[in-house]
């Protein structure tokens, strides 16, 4: 069985009076079981030359519904104002600004549950990797 882990650290010495030092690790397993996730797209990069428009990154109909898929995203831009708007199932989840990353659970619960990206500028590059529960 493959083992995939995700470790998060959030730290700050001045956000609160008490130093923030949050750390947690998850072993990524299938829905309702302890078997490691079984597939991955591998780490990939996509440069979107066309700029502001919505593009489908992953199509919900291509993946088993209501599972424990996990998606890693990173905006590699170094221009602070540049962001990718991340949309899941036609809902604007959030803006991934320059240098930001995300780990998003994805249920792919039906054919409409696509993951889409909308870059705010031309020639922005997104790094991404999907771990699948098939």
């Amino acid at each position: 069985m493959a083992t995939t882990t995700a470790t998060l650290t959030i730290s700050s010495t001045d956000l609160l009076s008490d130093e923030l030092a949050l750390s947690t690790t998850a072993t990524l397993t299938g829905a309702g079981n302890s078997t490691g996730l079984t597939g991955t797209t591998g780490l990939a990069r996509k440069t979107v030359s066309g700029g502001h428009a919505q593009y489908t990154l992953f199509d919900g109909s291509d993946y088993t519904a209501d599972k424990a898929h996990k998606l890693y995203l990173k905006n590699t831009s170094t221009t602070a104002s540049e962001y990718f708007l991340i949309t899941v199932n036609a809902e604007d989840v959030g803006r991934l600004y320059a240098g930001d990353w995300a780990l998003i659970p994805w249920s792919a619960h039906d054919n409409d549950c696509d993951i889409k990206i909308d870059p705010s500028a031309n020639d922005m590059t997104l790094e991404y990797m999907l771990f699948t529960d098939e």
Binding site: L8, T29, D92, R95, L103, S107
Partner: protein
Amino acid sequence: MATTTAAVTLTSDLLSDNMSVTASTTCMKAGTTADGLDQIEYGFVEVATGDEYDLIATTPTASKASKLFVKNHSIDETYYIAITQNSQAIGRLYAGDWMFIPADFHDAAADIAITSNGGTNKIEYALIHEGTALTTT
């Protein structure tokens, strides 16, 4: 300016080339490198099976660079919370899983809600943001 960093390490032996991906970001306000996110809502709740609850009770300023962390501290592998935003399914966090996502809160209906499944789930969450609209009394 508050300085908050969020780092991730992903490791996997799914591929022949064992991967180890790391990324780190300083959580900045939208569109700037000069000012960090300076407000936080950090809590822990137990959520009984069945009903859907808004995880964030306040209304953060729309379309900013807010970051939301959620971890399911449940132990039973069949327990999970379903994450929805504006009533649209996003994903499931099973026991032990966590997520760290940008949170847009683009309008008053764009709440992030959780529904507990399998049993009572224990949920840790933190919203790092740049402002919320408090309810007047």
